[in-house]
Symmetry: C2
Subunit: 667 residues, 2 copies
């Protein structure tokens, strides 16, 4: 919403942020706007004009339903009406989405009709999403501008990893995020299904995994199959991850015999890296895993199967005479070698079942075969090294959504840049793409969407669009628009803001809280993990959980302040917008403090609110002076700079983003 601040901006100013045409994300490879528009009304109808394909037919049906929601226009597919959208699909393609399949499409919109041509169902699905993003409200109603688009992805592996282990993510959360993923042409859902804090899949072979390891919060196999079908129908592969041999404490609750120590174990309620780890020295461990993988490889059809492998603590292995004897016997000189041995055993089990192993950086070891895929979280160098050694890899470093970085930070990360520069073409082709990671220590079903979206759209663009697509202002402008379009997929990244603020306000009117919430940015796992205070039993219902990683309204004010500071006389609209925002901030604190009386959830925010008011006051002073041609005094600048430096220290795990427009004026 960010209502109050956006309200404070003039439309002349803000419309630049909304006028970019077309506001597509990811930006297609080729876009040629044409003259005219296709009007949308209740006669709109879409038809598959090539060979029958029930799955694509259903997707076209869903597209029309969403178009109807997006515009409010009933689209009943009236008998006798000619189709306005014709989809021509060369071949249905694979039954299940396949890495590297042709995902290209062309899209033509004329004043008479729209037409999609794609060699495969995957391309046709992407084209429908592009078409949905093109819809605008024109002078005569909802319309799609005439256009010619040719498009195809840069990388074949464009993923989102969701952690359903640390906080439980109900099915509807998964499904709505799959819809939003499809909307920005992501094609891999990497599902982190087990960790120290939970084992989330029903195993019929080893039912104590979920019975003892999940607090009753797990997906049945039928539900898993439902998610896989749901994803498949949207052109998305599902890659399961069962993280071994570390991050396995939840396995050990039901099956303590898999651990190095005898147990008993409990589901971990803390975050971090734990000592408990599978025992690599006992054949029973491998027998268990073999039977487990037999079950899970049958459940998940994707040829790629993720075994985690990250952050293995060697303490128990080192302390265990049994493991040490085993290591000695097998000539394994350190924990990494032990893990490599373990991974080789696992890899053979999975290869025997037709699977390709994916693992985090740590699985790399000279003994591992070249057909595994490495997911780099530790840096671009790790990815480049792996690619140089002949391993295929995907980049996640730089794409960690839980770090709560601004969109521009992620936008600037490219799997083929930095350390990958030195690679030759064949080595570069080992880099399959990237995956953003939504680790779930500090998100719940309620907040996860706003940590994924809209920033995930920006990473999706990095992975789909031509390498030269790098203009940050264009990116922000399109992200702003697409964030709103994404709402019609059902994803809750914007919808959950208001109810969370209402909860914080204890049912009282939320507006003073909203003014503050719009002016701050939530911090990520780095700062929140300090002191290791959190547990999975703590409520994530504070302002840091409701606030966004990046304030849309502050960014607009920052742009206005820069323009105004550069040329005050030519920036009347910006000045008015800034004045409204600063006045709002300055007047907000009294109301906020009243709201915060005896409110335990707002208590920590009182200093922030005072600081926001001070920024508003300083901003008004600066505006007054600059409008009169009187630059601020050195003393004023020094004092404000000092104050801003103080305010830039996080409070209540929030950044006071509102410092930025003031800093721009002080320049």
């Amino acid at each position: 919403m960010e209502g109050m601040l956006r309200f404070a901006l003039s439309f002349a100013l803000l419309s630049t942020a909304f006028a970019a045409t077309p506001a597509l994300m990811p930006l297609p490879a080729t876009v040629r706007p044409a003259a005219g528009k296709l009007n949308l009304d209740a006669t709109f109808k879409a038809a598959l004009v090539s060979a029958p394909d029930a799955r694509l037919d259903a997707a076209i049906g869903r597209f029309v339903v969403r178009l109807s929601r997006q515009t409010g226009i009933p689209m009943l597919g009236l008998k006798g009406a000619a189709p306005k959208l014709r989809v021509d699909c060369g071949a249905a393609g694979n039954d299940y989405p396949t890495l590297g399949e042709n995902e290209s499409y062309t899209l033509d919109v004329t004043p008479e009709s729209a037409s999609i041509k794609a060699p495969t169902r995957a391309g046709a699905l992407h084209a429908l999403e592009t078409l949905g993003q093109l819809v605008t409200l024109g002078k005569e109603g909802f319309e799609i501008p005439a256009i010619h688009i040719e498009d195809k992805p840069r990388f074949p592996w464009r993923g989102l990893m969701m952690d359903s282990a640390r906080h439980w993510m109900p099915l509807e959360v998964v499904k709505r995020n799959l819809d939003a993923m499809a909307a920005v042409k992501l094609n891999v859902f990497h599902w982190h299904l087990s960790d120290d804090q939970g084992f989330r899949v029903e195993s019929k072979r080893f039912p104590k995994l979920q019975q003892e390891g999940s607090d009753g919060l797990f997906y049945t196999q039928d539900e898993i199959r439902g998610v896989i079908a749901y994803a498949r129908d949207r052109g998305i592969r599902v890659v399961p991850e069962f993280d071994i041999p570390g991050h396995t404490q939840a396995w050990l609750v039901g099956y303590p015999e898999l651990g190095v120590n005898p147990g008993p174990y409990e589901i971990s309620r803390k975050w971090g890296i734990f000592e408990n780890v599978l025992d690599p020295s006992r054949e029973e461990t491998y027998a268990f895993l073999d039977a487990f993988f037999e079950e899970m490889t049958a459940l998940f059809p994707d040829p790629f199967f993720h075994i985690g492998g990250d952050e293995v603590e060697d303490k128990q292995w080192t302390a265990s005479p049994r493991v040490q004897a085993f290591a000695k016997k097998n000539n394994l000189k350190d924990a990494h070698a032990i893990q490599a041995y373990f991974n080789q055993r696992v890899q053979k089990m999975l290869t025997a079942r037709g699977k390709i192993v994916v693992g985090w950086d740590e699985v790399l070891h000279p003994d591992m075969p070249k057909n595994i895929v490495v997911q780099s979280w530790r840096g671009q160098k790790a990815l480049a090294d792996a690619a140089a050694q002949g391993y295929r890899g995907i980049l996640s470093y730089g794409f960690y959504l839980d770090h709560m970085n601004p969109a521009a930070f992620h936008y600037n990360v490219d799997p083929l840049s930095a350390d990958a520069d030195r690679l030759g073409p064949a080595e570069k082709s080992n880099i399959l793409g990237g995956e953003m990671c939504m680790w779930a220590e500090y998100v719940t079903a309620e907040t996860v969407d706003s940590r994924i979206w809209p920033r995930a759209a920006v990473i999706a663009e990095r992975l789909w669009s031509p390498a030269g697509t790098r203009d940050v202002n264009s990116m922000y402008s399109r992200m702003t628009a697409v964030s709103r379009v994404l709402e019609w997929t059902g994803v809750q990244h914007r919808a959950n803001y208001a109810p969370m603020l209402e909860r914080l306000a204890g049912g009282r009117p939320t507006e003073p809280l909203r003014v503050l919430a719009d002016a701050v940015e939530a911090l990520g796992i780095g700062p929140r993990a300090i002191g290791n205070r959190y547990t999975s039993l703590m409520a994530l219902n504070r302002l840091v959980d409701a606030a966004r990683p990046e304030s849309e309204s502050v960014r607009a004010l920052e742009l206005a302040a820069s323009k105004f500071a550069a040329d005050p006389k030519a920036s009347a609209a910006e000045a008015a917008a800034l004045r409204r925002a600063f006045s709002l901030w300055a007047a907000n604190d009294a109301r906020f403090q009243e709201l915060a009386v005896e409110n335990p959830l707002l208590e920590e925010l009182k200093p922030l609110s005072r600081d926001l008011a001070a920024l508003g006051t300083a901003g008004l002073t600066l505006l007054d002076g600059l409008e009169k041609g009187q630059p601020p005094t050195a003393a004023f600048i020094a004092e404000q700079t000092r104050e801003i430096a103080r305010m830039e220290k996080p409070a209540a795990e929030l950044n006071l983003a509102a410092t930025r427009p003031i800093k721009a004026l002080l320049k």
Copy 2:
């Protein structure tokens, strides 16, 4: 949201609207607050302590999940923790909810624990909902105040009728409304499943009903069974309505032989009363209905079965020689007698299958047996007359949500008042309760929730709470609070406001539109039906569709204005709140007009926005004068009164509610 205006009100002022303790709706029969509070945290756990009852167990589980969402506190049911809530249910009661069953409960909350006692599952379900409404944010966190409640309903039939025929209501709309119904202790879902515009149930016996009569938008029998189970688990009966012999045009598309005229027929796209009607003169009609009811009575377990019977046009019957010959032969002197004959035949088919017929007023006829139930939509006199004749009845007159009346209007309607006053006790007991009606000419899946909620909670209170529960201010204050609690059931009455405004604004910042939207009220079917302009193919995406039937923020301003006008010196907080609101209105028009440029959906609102600004300016003038002890001049009063009279004429199917606080000041 009503964000901008609520923001304009001071908290001192508004908190009165939120401080009412406890904010329960419907108000229980007996409430005794006690000292202390039960703190809520992650150790919260609930347990059924009486005989095992899987269905009640599941309901308790859902309650804990909702409590967790409402507070943001994870509640995993940790092993070893003692239950904080103990539910003691005397008997599971009936498998399917039953009219007149004991729905009473007692609820005790102490600082140590909460306890529910109920003779049946129905009562226990109601108690859980009361408990959820008691949750507040206290000084130390979320809590439930210590309290003793004894409660039971006044009427056994407390219903909501939803029309899924005129606009399609997807399953999720039905389900979320069932959750909200349960939250306010409604126990009958009357499902209007067929009408001229659509036949919405799968018939396996007569598949052309849904194939030809629904645009593909119908519920499968499995889905129907799912809804019935979903409702049953929440203590709600499902009464299906198949409206015959009028309102049947959608039946005739697939089965024209049922009509008086040969057809062909089309699904109606218009609203109103149509001539097409079933042919009562052919035995084939009754054979069809008999087979149809055989199928549908098996599908719907409730003993009550609604056959509609309203608004039968006699034109085709009168014009048809065949029908006239049949009437003569059977000594049926007019259309009403023909319908009574038809109804008797139908009633016999249904009675033979164990069903009790329910029909709208028009089914009443001296020839009809006394065991039918009459649903009165034409007035309280019709209901009283029926009750006096020995028929059981339910009141819907005065409970039509699509009329978009204020909550206070509905609150004032009592099934046992007005014409029912003259009835004796036995006759009064024929009045089973009431049902609110949500006819769907002017609502869609997107807007229906905001037309039902929160006003349905007020009618629910009328039907549940003791007759003496009549304080309108208390009602509004509790409705405001409960409206927010209802959000956690998943109902979208507040959530859909912002996206609809964003759609109207074409993706641009919505705030000037929101200021206007918060200050207007949407009109209902009466004014909208004038000129018969609407069809089911028209978009319901205008401000009239997003705006609420009653403006919460204007009501608060109205109260403030009355208080201020009565005693300006003692009303500083009110004056400040009014000043902020009026200033906002006065300044809003320039921004609104800018937003509305070349926006076809906002064009019709331009005069309203100008009027709102004028009201703001007038309000500021009045405030200035009254604060100085200078009452407005007679000329000013005359001019403003004239202007307000002009503004009170609806525009764009909206009322400018903002006139009301100005009128209060002018007094």
